[in-house]
């Protein structure tokens, strides 16, 4: 790396940090100085008013008004950024999804028709469905199983860290780690763990990720996501298990339930809210899965998913219409899950 490049980058970083200090510091200063100025004027006005006979209700309404302005000032940067970076673009994406590739002609719902007619894209939807069903199921099961097993075990903290650690690894990094596990060599010793195990039980080496039986390679990619998400499930569920009141357990035990019944009738119902949070969170994350597929197969061999196809359409093939329609499909798929979640939260609050 040349020194000039390096200096340029550090200068940018410096600009960024200085920008941060100036913006945030300036904002805080402004929020401090301006209300003080008004407070002083208000005091003066109050003094004048009390001398002149008193007009308290007006002052109170003015104060409420000022609170509103101040609130707006606190909120301004966040609201502005959300508007520019999220709300307006999202609306524009919906509009773009009704236009052709370069946005020059209105095509109605053609882009949505394309999604459900093109065989490749139907395949993409089916793959995503497979991801969304399997990842939450497997990750939550493994997380729960592990949380129950290591609960109060001797090396609980260490054991948990081991499972939890993949959460710190990027999807790209995890993709490389697992591609190495699935690696294939035509002749000689295998360097991939899976093929080594496979050969040692008598199989012939396989090109796992581009094997001709499509469901299997997608499943092998799903394993990677489960590997990352199980730690998340485990931490949340483990905390929920520890929070179950011991008197419930005692009561159940006095009733003489078997541990098996205890698990299904007491543990599971008690951690239901946490279970739902875990499943919903993992589901939403899985729906948007992109990096793992892109790193490991780049969507080849029938492993493509919606988010990757959206990226390809919009940014590789310059088909903004198709890409936007796929983004809207992702959005629409998330909505029922969120409604379910909100209703669930409300029921909890009432119950």
């Amino acid at each position: 790396m040349e020194f000039e490049d390096f200096a340029l980058k550090l200068t940018m970083l410096l600009y960024g940090v200085i920008g941060f200090v100036v913006v945030v510091g300036g904002l805080l200063l402004l929020l401090d100085v301006v209300p003080n100025y008004f407070a002083r004027r208000r005091e003066a006005a109050l003094v004048a008013a009390s001398l002149g006979g008193g007009d308290a209700p007006v002052a109170r309404r003015a104060r409420k008004h000022r609170e509103g302005l101040l609130g707006l000032a606190f909120l301004l940067p966040a609201l502005l950024l959300l508007l520019i970076g999220l709300v307006i673009p999202a609306i524009r994406t919906i509009i773009l999804s009704l236009f052709n590739g370069n946005g020059s002609a209105f095509v109605g719902l053609d882009n949505y028709g394309w999604i459900f007619q093109e065989n490749d894209i139907v395949r993409v939807l089916l793959n995503t469905a497979g991801w969304v069903i399997l990842v939450p199921l497997l990750a939550t099961s493994v997380g729960l199983l592990y949380a129950v097993m290591v609960d109060r075990a001797r090396f609980e903290a260490v054991a948990k860290s081991l499972i939890f650690l993949p959460m710190a690894i990027s999807f790209v990094g995890a993709g490389i780690i697992w591609r190495f596990v699935y690696a294939y060599r035509g002749e000689g010793d295998q360097i991939g763990l899976l093929n080594w195990l496979w050969v040692s039980v008598g199989g012939t080496p396989q090109q796992w990720l581009n094997i001709d039986r499509p469901p299997l390679n997608t499943f092998l990619l799903i394993v990677v996501m489960v590997w990352i998400q199980a730690g998340f499930a485990m931490v949340i569920l483990s905390a929920a298990i520890k929070a179950i009141p011991s008197d419930i357990v005692e009561a159940a035990r006095l009733d003489g339930v078997t541990p098996w019944q205890m698990f299904w009738r007491v543990t599971l119902p008690s951690i239901r809210p946490a279970l739902i949070v875990v499943v919903v969170t993992i589901t939403i994350g899985t729906m948007k899965i992109f990096d793992i597929v892109r790193t490991m197969t780049n969507g080849n061999f029938d492993t493509n998913v919606v988010a990757l196809e959206m990226y390809n359409q919009a940014f590789r093939y310059q088909e903004a219409g198709h890409g936007s329609a796929l983004a809207v499909v992702l959005f629409v798929l998330v909505i029922p899950i969120v409604i379910f979640q909100i209703r669930n939260l409300r029921r909890q609050r009432e119950g």
Partner: protein, 321 residues
């Protein structure tokens, strides 16, 4: 009995059947089976990473021809791969040192900005009275579910072409190139982080005792003073956990970087470079293993040293949009 020593107490509890139901289930599953199953899970969860780590220190020929487990019969270590992948001159070698710096330059402002803006917003949404406050909060909360895919195409065109309506330019294009594109990436990350950040901090700030605010107000402190000297010190743990979240998210992100930084060596972070190496040089395991580890090591250190805050944050709010 009143003089029971701690030792005796310890023995007594050890002999009792496990109190938690998890413990009882474990017992039921026969603790030996349970131990075996959890060891198998722990192995599946650690061995792949360990294999990658070990391989990254093996000579190129060894990596390509023998499995990493043969290391134990034929131990050979080298730092060549790291030297190559970080500082190699040829364009195929990775030149990751450069991209490592890019990752740092991207990450620091992308963590600072959203946290500051979100803290201000969360305070206003919890403690300043104005009309429509609750609706505003619900709106920000709901934005968490908008997939960021929904924003990518228009936001990119906003940067490159500006905003114009009916031929009138409302906002000019940013026209950033080379290192200037860092600004674009910071901006995008800040916007996308805000809904979750506001949600998480609101959870903490709205739980602070109201008497505290009232007392400060009686003392004559305005909202700005209260925010700085009462609220900020109290929510430091929340800020820490949010910072870790955002750090991991930005450092590990591929999608936002691909679109707003591009693949060039001026701005692209490690993840983009690694994905590129994996795509074009998928068989060059000596580079991929070392490269992957270079990108993993920083978040792993952060994660392991600050795990406590991370877990606390996870337990408070856990939907990232």
């Amino acid at each position: 009995m009143t003089t029971t020593t701690p030792v005796l107490a310890g023995q007594a509890t050890a002999e009792q059947p496990p109190r938690t139901m998890a413990g009882r289930v474990r017992k039921r599953l026969n603790s030996r089976t349970a131990t075996a199953v959890s060891i198998i899970i722990a192995l599946i969860w650690t061995v792949p990473t360990f294999g990658l780590f070990l391989s990254s220190f093996r000579p190129e020929d060894d990596i390509k021809q023998t499995g990493w487990w043969t290391f134990f019969t034929n131990p050979q270590l080298t730092l060549d791969n790291y030297n190559q992948v970080l500082f190699g001159r040829s364009s195929s070698s990775g030149q990751l040192a450069n991209f490592f710096v890019n990752s740092i330059v991207i990450t620091i402002p992308s963590v600072l900005f959203p946290i500051a803006f979100a803290a201000l917003a969360a305070y206003a949404l919890s403690w300043i009275n104005f009309r429509g406050r609750d609706w505003l909060y619900i709106g920000v909360f709901a934005l968490q579910i908008v997939p960021l895919q929904m924003a990518l195409v228009p936001l990119l065109s906003f940067f490159s072409r500006g905003v114009s309506l009916g031929g009138i330019t409302l906002l000019p294009a940013w026209d950033l190139d080379n290192e200037g594109k860092f600004v674009q990436v910071w901006f995008a990350h800040t916007c996308f982080a805000l809904p979750f950040a506001v949600f998480l901090l609101h959870n903490f700030i709205s739980q602070l005792p109201g008497e505290l605010m009232e007392a400060a107000r009686v003392d004559g402190a305005g909202h700005s003073k209260i925010f700085r000297s009462v609220v900020l010190p109290l929510i430091t743990p929340a800020l820490a956990s949010l910072a870790i979240f955002q750090f991991l998210w930005v450092w590990n992100d591929l999608l936002v970087a691909l679109i707003f930084a591009g693949g060039g060596r001026e701005v692209a972070p490690l993840t983009v470079r690694l994905a590129e190496l994996a795509g074009t040089r998928g068989g060059e395991w000596q580079r991929l293993t070392a490269g992957a580890f270079v990108s993993i090591v920083v978040p792993m250190i952060v994660f392991l040293s600050l795990q406590r805050y991370f877990v606390r944050g996870l337990l408070t709010g856990s939907v990232k949009g």
